[in-house]
Amino acid sequence: MTITTTATPTLAEHPSVVTGRSSAWTAYLFLAPFLLVYLIFLVYPLFKGFWISLHDWELVGGYREYIGFLNYEDLWYDPLFWRTVRNTLTFVALTVPAMTVLALALALGVNRHTRTHGVLRGIFFASSVFSVSVVTLVWQMVLNGDRGLIAHFLRSLGMAPVDFLGHSFWAMPSLVVTTLWWAVGLPMALFLAGLQQIPGELYEAAELDNASRWTVLTKITLPAIRRTVMLVVVLQIVLQFQVFGQALLMTQGGPGDRTRTLVQYIYHTAFRDWQVGYASAMALLLFALMFLASMLQLYIGRRED
């Protein structure tokens, strides 16, 4: 009996595998520039930050002593840390929903193809290109309790002016309003992009289906841009947890630490008090907070799907 064997090509010899392997290398080559930047500027600092947070690490000089999780333990007993966490959470809780609703309302308002609406789109987006120092300067001129725009207006009505930025209740809402004015452009643009993806025929069908404006908004528009809403909310959570410039320049954290934010506290701890280890521990907790909030939002969104 003769047994005929056919030579089976090994994996490496197989033409499609060779092609697959070489195309994988090509893909890595194209990915390399991004991966390099990602590793050097994001992954490495994250781990380095964690490493630093395990030390009593001074900004200047060579004093670096490994202390394990002592910085995290100190945070637990630091009332100012918890104060800044509460302030930051308050700011996020006020800003994110307001920003989302405002951006959506503006996008719905300017989502028409006329010259006027084009100009309005430009105007609403324009504030986003200003730097935080310009924005805070403008709003200080508006909110100043003595010579501010609102103070003049209140006086003209015979009312006593309010020092918004120095007021224990109004200081935080003032930061929120400033932030809304400054940053509403990007979410508005995202919503506009989402709205423009909705086929016009759906609205025509809804018109023939007797749908009211409210029904159209809730039953057609919002479900159609559900993913954009999710994107905007997550982006806003990540951005607003990092609030810093407005609080530093407008209220300096006051009055009585009522607007002192977590990033501001981290900044002062690291660069004013030189306690980089302690600041790194706070930064990592901020990261965890942002991560948790974003994941929670994504989870809720997926569950609604």
């Binding site: 025929e201 759906l202 025509e204 069908a205 018109e207 023939l208 007797n210 749908a211």
Partner: protein, 362 residues
């Protein structure tokens, strides 16, 4: 069910006039098809009837009532869109019942009417699915179901089959015709496909560049096109056009020279001056003739075997090509010189302006 009367309707977009004074009466229960090439104004006209486009001038009456100023939602019309326009996050049943729930119809009645429409369209098992879980044909049925449940006075269809593959289109064509027969509603249907128009319509409205060119029953239009455009638009393959010259008219026949040995004696219904004309001959009226007979001779350029018939593309010389349709399988070979016989009674004459010369029944 209702009549629709259009009187001198025009539509203008800035400097561009999309519709030039369209007038038409659509009878109660009629299935009428607007057909024409892209940009002829057929969809604009449909959307004006729906209330989705404003009216520049003229009048629309539905069921005797002027609706120019009436909102689309109050006109009593339902529309099936080219891309179905189903609400993507709603199930098929919710899509179909959406219009009813918006006017406060009780839930039980919505369910009954949706169920009834689903039964007519045979989509009962699909009611809980969302549009992305349906095939093109199923989506189309849901879109039609959405139109049916509202029991409108007039159904409007805007190229509803253009996104379906050829086989499904044929099937849906038959289903729509059956639907029309069963519910007997007034239906206005827009298409650029003359086969759809021919097979489904009670009457066809042929449009070109914002004008209504001709209105009539499909076979009337096919047999008696008013002008060169209508003649060329209806029929597949399209009518052959040959340059000719009327030499004389006698005894109700125009003697037309088409470059053949003997002139073509075309029966005409009215006097026509001698001069240049265009002779229109449908492919099925051009037949292969035995050697030595037939008015035309040419070389076979392309042979298309369709099984039940054969299309011969024949080069007559001088850049003139005609298409002849032979029944069954034809033995003609590429490059072969053949002779063609023209049935004069079936020939159409068009004057220098492209208008048809009335034919007499010989």
């Amino acid at each position: 069910m209702a009549t629709v009367v259009l009187t001198d309707l025009t539509k203008r977009y800035g400097a561009f006039q999309a519709l030039h004074g369209a007038s038409l009466r659509i009878e109660d229960g009629e299935f009428i098809v607007f057909v024409g090439p892209s940009g002829c104004g057929k969809s604009t006209l449909l959307r004006m009837i729906a209330g989705l486009e404003s009216i520049t001038s003229g009048e629309i009456r539905i069921d005797g009532e002027r609706v120019n100023e009436t909102l689309a939602r109050h006109r009593g019309v339902s529309m099936v869109f080219q891309n179905y326009a189903l609400y993507p996050h709603m199930t098929a049943a919710e899509n179909m019942g959406f219009g009813l729930s918006n006017i406060g119809t009780p839930k039980a009645e919505i369910e009954t009417r949706v169920g009834e429409a689903a039964r007519i369209l045979r989509i009962e098992p699909l009611l809980k699915r969302k549009p992305h879980e349906l095939s093109g044909g199923q989506r189309q049925r849901v879109a039609i179901g959405r139109a049916i449940v509202r029991k409108p006075k007039v159904f409007l269809f805007d190229e509803p089959l253009s996104n379906l593959d050829a086989a499904l289109r044929v099937q849906m064509r038959a289903e729509l015709a059956r639907l029309h027969q069963s519910i007997g509603a007034t239906m206005i249907y827009v298409t650029h496909d003359q086969v759809e128009a021919m097979t489904m319509a009670d009457r066809i409205v042929i449009m070109r560049e914002g004008h209504i060119e001709q209105v009539g029953a499909p076979l009337d239009l096919y047999r008696n096109p008013r002008n060169l455009f209508v003649a060329g638009f209806l029929g597949s393959p399209k009518m052959n056009f040959l340059d000719g010259r009327v030499k004389e008219v006698s005894a109700g026949r125009a003697m037309v020279d088409i470059g053949a040995a003997t002139p073509l004696a075309v029966p005409v219904g009215r006097a026509i001056e001698p001069g240049p004309v265009t002779v229109g001959i449908r492919p099925e009226h051009l037949r292969l003739a035995p050697n030595g007979s037939g008015e035309l001779a040419g070389r076979v350029d392309v042979v298309e075997q369709l099984g039940n018939s054969t299309l011969l593309y024949i080069d007559l010389g001088g850049q003139t090509q005609v298409v002849a349709e032979e029944g069954g399988e034809c033995p003609a070979r590429l490059g072969e010189t053949v002779r063609l016989a023209v049935a004069p009674a079936a020939a159409h004459l068009f004057d220098a302006r492209g208008e048809a010369v009335a034919r007499s029944v010989s």
